[in-house]
């Protein structure tokens, strides 16, 4: 055996176990984050975009933004007074076509939509003023306020 092949075998004998015993909690949190974002995309942003595409431009309501991004600052679930665990999120909006969304972070309108998501049920709540509504309020559903949600116990 040549020296290079010995070194390669040694490297592989170390690398393969390291990959297989990679801490699961790190992978789980990354996967968890991406699954939360995918749920928010599916349950909040996609219906909202669909509704906005049908809207008239000649309303006094705010015109739809050019882009949105989900921001989850703390992906550790909290527990509300009813004992359900939730994760808070914020959605930033980008307005204007003269901005490169990837570079100009300071030009994003922060916390345009704030709310929380219940991972167990997949329910998404959004905050308007000081009260919370189901996310469907944003595309016009006739829903009422929800109490004791999105507030840690």
């Amino acid at each position: 055996m040549t020296k290079q092949s010995i070194i390669l075998v040694l490297f592989m004998s170390l690398w393969i176990p390291l990959k297989t015993i990679h801490p699961l909690h790190a992978q789980t949190s990354n996967n968890n984050l991406s699954s939360i974002e995918s749920i928010l995309e599916k349950k909040l942003l996609d219906p909202l975009r669909k509704k906005e595409s049908e809207r008239s431009k000649f309303s006094r309501a705010l015109l739809p933004p050019t882009g949105r991004k989900i921001r989850i600052e703390n992906n550790t679930p909290q527990t509300d007074p009813q004992g359900h665990s939730f994760i808070s999120f914020s959605i930033d909006e980008n307005r204007g076509y003269a901005v490169n969304p990837q570079k100009s972070d300071h030009q994003w309108l922060k916390n345009a939509i704030v709310g929380c998501m219940y991972p167990a049920s997949g329910e998404v709540m959004v905050k308007r003023g000081n009260v919370f509504y189901p996310a469907s309020i944003l595309w016009g559903a006739q829903v009422t306020t929800a109490s004791l949600v999105c507030q840690s116990h």
Partner: protein
């Protein structure tokens, strides 16, 4: 050139009025909340707000096209009675429905107090100009009546101008509240100044009169001080 520019202006406001009216039908959908209403949530008296909004939209749908029609000189010459009766109807609609509902809705305007005050100023100009227009028409001073009705039309046209500015500024990454205030205040103040300068035979006569009255009062009190007899 003047006729062409006038025609273009009327077409702009007429088209804007039609587009706004068409986009306002969403406020009459009982199964859905309009985006404009969602922005205002939470509302303490949501039913009252929706009622005022519907009254305001219906009144505006009649008032703006009605005012455009009433400014037509050919219609006035051919059908003066229609002009009088329709004018009374539009004036009634503005004073009883449009302005009061607008004053209430302004309490919830975007942009905080600046937004509320901007709408109140516009509504105040509409009410003042409408009352003066009625007064001048009854006194048969038709030139002044025309100026005041142009003020009413101008302020109603703010609805079209501000939406045009909102659409134009949409491509700029500015704070939405700032854009909203700009799109409100520039048309309100600019329209008033424009109409006073270009349509009034004596621009800002009300201001000149106040200055004149105060000057006379000061000079008469000065004379009393110098020569009490």
């Amino acid at each position: 050139m003047k006729k062409i520019s006038q025609m273009l202006l009327y077409c702009f406001f007429a088209l804007g009025s039609i587009l706004i009216t068409l986009s306002s039908w969403v406020y009459f959908d009982f199964n859905e909340r309009a985006p404009f209403l969602i922005e205002k949530l939470p509302l303490s008296f949501e039913s009252l707000y929706i009622f005022a909004l519907r009254i305001h939209v219906l009144a505006a749908a009649l008032s703006l096209p009605g005012c455009l029609l009433l400014t037509s000189k050919s219609l006035l010459k051919r059908y003066p009675r229609f002009h009088r009766h329709f004018g009374r109807m539009v004036g009634f609609c503005i004073l009883i429905a449009l302005a009061p509902s607008g004053f209430y809705l302004a309490l919830f305007a975007r942009g905080g107090f600046a937004g509320t005050f901007g709408f109140w100023l516009s509504g105040g100009i509409v009410v003042w100009a409408m009352l003066r227009a009625i007064h001048e028409a009854r006194a048969k001073r038709y030139a002044r009546h025309r100026v005041f009705t142009f003020h009413v039309l101008g302020q109603l046209g703010v609805a079209v101008l501000s939406r045009a500015i909102l659409v134009a500024f949409d491509s700029y990454p500015l704070n939405p509240d700032l854009i909203y205030l700009i799109s409100l205040w520039i048309p309100v103040v600019g329209t008033f100044i424009f109409i006073e300068f270009f349509f009034s035979p004596t621009p800002f006569q009300f201001l000149h009169r106040r200055i004149y009255d105060q000057t006379i009062n000061h000079s008469s009190s000065f004379h009393e001080l110098v020569d009490p007899s």
